[in-house]
Symmetry: C2
Subunit: 457 residues, 2 copies
């Protein structure tokens, strides 16, 4: 990478931090309509950053919050990268648990504390500043670069897929880049090459047409709460293995190489347990904790609701009982296939006297990026430049649905290059971003444009 | 019964209705502290009724709402009856479903509509007016009569047991009388000789120390909601048979005579199902619907709470999951014996990684009044006088804990003589009391004092 770029980064480190603080001061909480003006202000601020460095930027309206789109495509013959990020943040509640106010960014112990510091304003901003460094020194980018920065990630990205579908030509690219994940541990950068998918459901059972007295009717009327627990129990065995027929048919097993590499990662089970406050772990036999979380499908109940939930006792035979539950899927499992088999499975177990309704919420397939891709090799070199060490290859248990959207609609893979740490308190009070990682991220990103630019398309 | 008594009842029918309306206009809602003054007013009003007819009456303070106590014991050699009732009522919500305001008693189709009309102001009042009829005509009662009218029945009778315990001498009697139940059907009066007991629990499970991301942690961390449904499922089989060891050991089976009498009662299953809006019923094999509800123990989940209960989807692995559930018990099952066996049963099924807490709420044993008792025979005659037909003997699935308190602390059985109907909407909008039944109840009660007075103690 040109020395001038590195020098620019070094000389502007303080300015970059100050600019990030400006963005963090805007409370762009997408879930709360009172922050609509702040959302707009954040979008304008981000667009302004692109314009200031000479990129074309546009604020694209959606039925919800706007998307900021920017591009600079003046590197003929070089590949095109599309950076995705989001400028919206989670609500800061509960406010009283913040040591310093969520929208007054504060430096402490080498970290910057604020809502959005790492998720995703800080991480997204690294790619903005790296482009600026190239443009302000070399005068041009070594790659064709596009940015898609949305404002609804924290509320389900409702309008993103439509935007991508309607703007396929504009968004055409060779590879996508997202920094919205974490390193494996402090100082141990990672390339996340796999994500689990998800299929989320709600099961609603209706028994009698109103709550009944459990003394007068109990024993003769089928209780939907009793039925619910039985139906849910049938879904998974004691080890968490899903019992819906065919569920595991399409699961791509981990390769021996992956299992060896995961096993070589530093992992302290006592520390893991202590961090979440449990004494024992459990899960599928013959799989390690990391394998269970990154590469095995699951079924977790996310919510249960029925009858009386207040203080003390109420002798009610509830009219209704419902559960929210979701399956994490691994690559090659199709979320669209699951619902029919699940519905049959549950219907067979739904007792007479109960009517059931199964609602399917969002689904997303799991993804893996082929490790042999030249873009992955380019990213490895960039991380080595920015962090001074080779990244490990990891997967993640969560889902980032836009990764499959990019795959399906744009036909490209995504590089998940996360600068965060697992204890960054994303979605919790005292969210933070390590400032050293912020600068390492910018440096990696600057190198990434050069390395990706060299890939022959 | 002296003709003068019957005549007094006939001549004062309209006055009795008007007086009941006075009481019904007082919104003595025990659950709401804003009605504290109304509670006091209702107690004073009831005490005034006793004083007006020449009984000694007292308003007894408790740490909660006061108890009205009255007595007239001037029938040496005759037995003593203790009437229990309550002057407090359920909250009237939801108000918009009432056709006429809950505290403006309104006559419609031969019924009196108001909160408390049947539960329990109207039914309780029948025993007040019957005593008045004797005193205003014959000049004395044919029995020694005591009244215990409380103001906390709708909020769990928290201070009643203490009052009874501290006033055993004062409350000493040969038989108790409660009118807070129903006829078997319109024009088919009933003596309720059996009640189910209850043992109510809450099971609280704790997994991780906070809600976790179900993507990041799912599959490796034991989910307390998944554990809860498994533990609850183990409690009962598909027919509702409780699986806790020893649960059925002490159950007194129904006699052949009882089963025959229950089978002879008019019961229309299609009507029963339609009234509660279910298409199918289910329960223990080899028992009829009536037997299941009146005389078989049960386990019903009364409430389920865990994780996300709002709209849409949230991918949370909940920290906590809890259930309220209760067992209906039949005579001879001791609620005090159940908790230890239940706790062992659940602990054996609580997976590693989850801590459980089992909270025991109120318990009450089931009761049966011996049918061969002379007081029952007296009550039969009184009902024949008041309703013009012989009552049927029924049980009820619910629990009236004070019945066991009377049995345990005063050593007496209770006559449950209900003038209500199953569709009286107790605890619901548009509560009503059939005015013809109100007067039949007063007439039965007046005869009851004479019939009970003849029993040799």
């Amino acid at each position: 990478m040109p020395a001038a770029v590195d020098q620019y980064l070094a000389e502007n480190a303080a300015a970059f931090e100050e600019q990030l603080c400006q963005l963090l001061r805007i409370p762009s909480v997408s879930a709360q309509s009172t922050h609509k003006g702040d959302i707009r202000a954040a979008a304008e601020w981000v667009a302004g950053q692109f314009r200031d460095m000479g990129m074309k930027a546009e604020i694209c309206e959606t039925p919800g919050h706007p998307i900021v789109y920017a591009e600079l495509c003046q590197a003929p013959g070089a590949p095109t990268a599309l950076v995705y990020g989001h400028y919206d943040v989670q609500p800061p509640d509960p406010l009283d648990l913040w040591e310093t106010p969520p929208f007054e960014p504060t430096r402490r112990n080498g970290n910057l504390y604020a809502r959005g510091a790492t998720d995703d304003k800080g991480q997204m901003f690294t790619h903005v500043k790296s482009a600026e460094a190239w443009l302000k020194t070399v005068g041009k980018l070594p790659i064709n670069l596009k940015f898609l920065i949305e404002g609804e990630e924290e509320v389900g990205s409702e309008h993103l897929d439509d935007y991508i579908r309607l703007n396929r030509e504009r968004l055409k690219c060779d590879v996508c880049v997202i920094s919205d994940t974490s390193q494996f541990g402090p100082g141990l950068p990672a390339i996340t090459y796999g994500l689990r998918g998800i299929s989320y459901f709600e099961l609603k059972l209706q028994g009698p047409d109103r709550d009944l007295h459990s003394g007068v009717f109990g024993g003769a009327v089928v209780n939907p709460a009793n039925a619910l627990v039985k139906m849910l129990t049938a879904l998974v065995d004691d080890q968490g293995r899903v019992q819906v027929p065919g569920f595991y048919d399409d699961v791509t097993p981990l390769t021996e190489r992956e299992r060896k590499e995961f096993a070589a990662l530093p992992y302290d089970e006592a520390e893991f347990k202590s961090a979440i406050g449990v004494k024992e772990l459990n899960g599928e036999a013959d799989f390690t904790n990391i394998e269970r979380r990154w590469a095995r499908p699951t079924c977790d109940i996310n919510g249960l609701t029925s009858g009386y939930q207040g203080e003390g006792a109420k002798t009610v035979l509830p009219a209704k009982a419902s559960a929210k539950f979701s399956f994490r899927l691994v690559p090659n499992q199709d979320p669209a296939n699951l619902k029919a088999a699940l519905e049959t499975f549950l219907k067979e177990r739904c007792p007479a006297g109960i009517t059931m309704e199964l609602i399917g919420y969002h689904g997303a397939p799991g993804v893996v990026v082929p490790l042999e891709s030249p873009y992955v090799a380019a990213a490895v070199k960039a991380v080595e430049h920015g962090f001074g060490r080779r990244p490990v290859f990891i997967r993640e248990g969560g889902s980032i649905p836009v990764v499959s959207t990019f795959h399906d609609l744009l036909g490209v893979d995504t590089l998940l290059l996360g600068w965060g740490l697992n204890d960054d308190n994303t979605h919790s009070p005292n969210e933070k971003f390590c400032l050293a990682d912020f600068h390492r991220g910018i440096k990696t990103s600057a190198a990434l444009w050069e390395e990706l630019g060299r890939v022959k398309t």
